[in-house]
């Protein structure tokens, strides 16, 4: 089911955790809410679930307003960060619990729970207690439980954060598989950009209680709307060059003068930096301060005064302490104004 927020504000005491946010989560999609800790992403999830209520604004499921409905009435499914599996119930009983609350007959309950156990591939452990399971297995049970009552919306609160790195990737794909198989509208909260980009149909980036950008992962990465999004996504972090300290950058770009005045910073992704022979074409020149090789990847650090740029995709491997000229294609350069917002810049074709 489609979820819609209209001007939702959430404050605890004087503190505004969410400031008038509005968004729509389309039906059947997997949408991530991404942001640093304290940005309000978990609060957003709690608001969808009905475990907490907004100070202002409206929430809709489909066409129906559910703002005042509590969690019991909203009937969403939810996977908690620490799974919150009932420790006194077996795996099967955990999965059956929501069905028991729906007063579904016992036989039917068991049948449905076993199907779900198969879906999440936990059918060999149905009689165990949660304590006897590994983290990944508990995660699977939590998903099965959340799906048991066929919720129209599935919520996941940092579901992978308690797993080790390898398991995290496995479960990530697992969640994607299950979501696609069931087609349930899923909201996935995470602070891990890689997780969000790899799993979602759409990503909503939150910071300080406001939506920064809401788009598909590729647009988000390629066309960030502001400096926060640009810097939050991508490893290594995007290189930024302040115009004030390096005025020569603008001189070497073919853009109109009036736009140049608004530009405060430019951003260059490490993998999009190129080398050039020609100093006149260079956006940045400096001394190679460090070359790090890890496996097949080479990371080059180039330093000029205080500023250090990181490039990961150079066609040559320079020697340390040599001078180097760096540039990038015009389409790969991000321009930000003094508020951190992106400026659309078209290259002026030289006559």
């Amino acid at each position: 089911m489609q979820v819609q927020f209209k001007d939702v504000t959430m404050s605890y005491g004087d503190k505004e955790v969410l400031q008038k946010i509005s968004f729509t989560i389309p039906e059947g999609k997997l949408v991530s809410i991404l942001g640093p800790s304290g940005c309000g992403k978990s609060t957003t999830l709690m608001l969808i679930s009905g475990l907490t209520f907004p100070s202002n604004g409206q929430i809709f499921f489909g066409d129906k307003e559910v703002t005042k409905y509590d969690a019991v009435k909203r009937k969403v499914g939810m996977v908690f960060q620490n799974y919150a599996l009932y420790p006194h119930l077996s795996v099967l009983e955990n999965i059956m619990f929501p069905l028991k609350m729906e007063k579904m007959p016992k036989k039917q309950r068991q049948k449905r729970a076993l199907e779900l156990a198969q879906l999440v591939q936990i059918e060999d452990h149905v009689d165990k207690k949660p304590k006897q399971l590994s983290g990944g297995q508990q995660q699977r049970v939590a998903i099965a439980r959340a799906l048991a009552k066929e919720p129209s919306i599935l919520l996941m609160d940092e579901p992978l954060s308690n797993l080790d790195a390898r398991l995290r990737i496995e479960m990530r794909e697992e969640i994607r598989r299950i979501q696609q198989k069931t087609g349930v509208t899923t909201v996935f909260v995470t602070h891990d950009q890689e997780e969000a980009l790899s799993i979602s149909d759409e990503v909503m980036v939150l910071n300080e209680g406001a939506i920064q950008q809401n788009s598909d992962p590729i647009t988000l990465y390629k066309k960030p709307k502001n400096r926060f999004v640009a810097q939050f996504l991508g490893t290594p972090i995007i290189n930024t060059i302040g115009i004030e300290d390096y005025p020569e950058v603008l001189e070497r770009l073919n853009i109109s003068e009036e736009i140049k005045q608004n530009i405060e910073t430019i951003g260059l992704r490490a993998e999009e930096i190129l080398t050039t022979e020609n100093k006149e074409n260079a956006l940045f020149e400096g001394i190679v301060s460090h070359v790090a090789r890890v496996g097949k990847d080479t990371t080059v650090h180039v330093k000029n005064k205080e500023k250090e740029l990181v490039a990961t995709n150079l066609t040559i491997i320079p020697l340390e302490d040599t001078e180097i000229y760096l540039t990038a294609q015009m389409k790969d350069i991000h321009f930000f104004d003094h508020k951190g917002q992106v400026i659309e810049v078209k290259e002026v074709v030289m006559a």
Partner: protein, 296 residues
Amino acid sequence: MIEKPTLKSSLKSLLYIAPMMLIITTFNLYPIIRSFLMSFYTDFNIYTQEVNEYGISNFIEVLQDPEFILAIRNTFIFVLGVVPASIIISLGIAVLLNKIKVLSGFFRSIYFLPFVTSTVAISIVWSWIYHSRFGLMNYALGLIGIEPIEFLTDPKYSMLALVIMAIWKGLGFNIILFLVGLNNIDENYYSAAKIDGARGWERFTNITIPLLGPTMFLVSVMGVINSFKVFDEVFALFQSRPGPAGSALTVVYYIFQKFYQESQYGIAAAAGIVLFLIILVFTLIQMAFNKKFVHY
């Protein structure tokens, strides 16, 4: 970090534990063994403390003594009257206390107050409340149209009087333990249960009660043990008598009578051992129950 004990460190430690061990050995360890032995004294001179004969006749006598059987019966009635009711009431109060924020500590203080008071003093207060003519209880009952009850002189009501007072006195202790137990339940389980569609009462029966299992076990074991040992209340409530016509004679009161008033040490010790065994059996049953139903 763990060092191995050496002769030197052991001797030094001995100095630290010696004062405590001296007292505990004399007044705790030795008497346990001695009371066990005493229960087998059949011919004992109290003045010279010489034992002339051992045997099991004390046990036979105790178990055939109708007074003792009565004491056991009364004690069981007391335990059954106090423990379940106290658990239900104190759990209810603890849950309510957990629901509110303002004044929660204030209420807790009031409920716990009886715990710090002298059982003797408060029993005397209750005997005044139970007074057949001028007591508050009969006045209150009169208001709802019930004839005055001779709580302290009618054998039919003496146990009831004792049970009501004991529940009142013990509530605070159980409430504190339940509050600790409730606080140890992760809030996430309640959130999950709400998401899973469990309403207030369903959350209570499906989450609170099972997760409170260990506390429930603890409270019931301690309640049973303490209730089996009831004495001060009886002594003070019924003015140094085991209730009208022995109707509130409890096992510890029986031991007290045999030992202090009749100087039948062997009999008293045997009754004490029987009491100990009863408590032990009850505790073991509760432990088995706990193991079967409280496992996670």
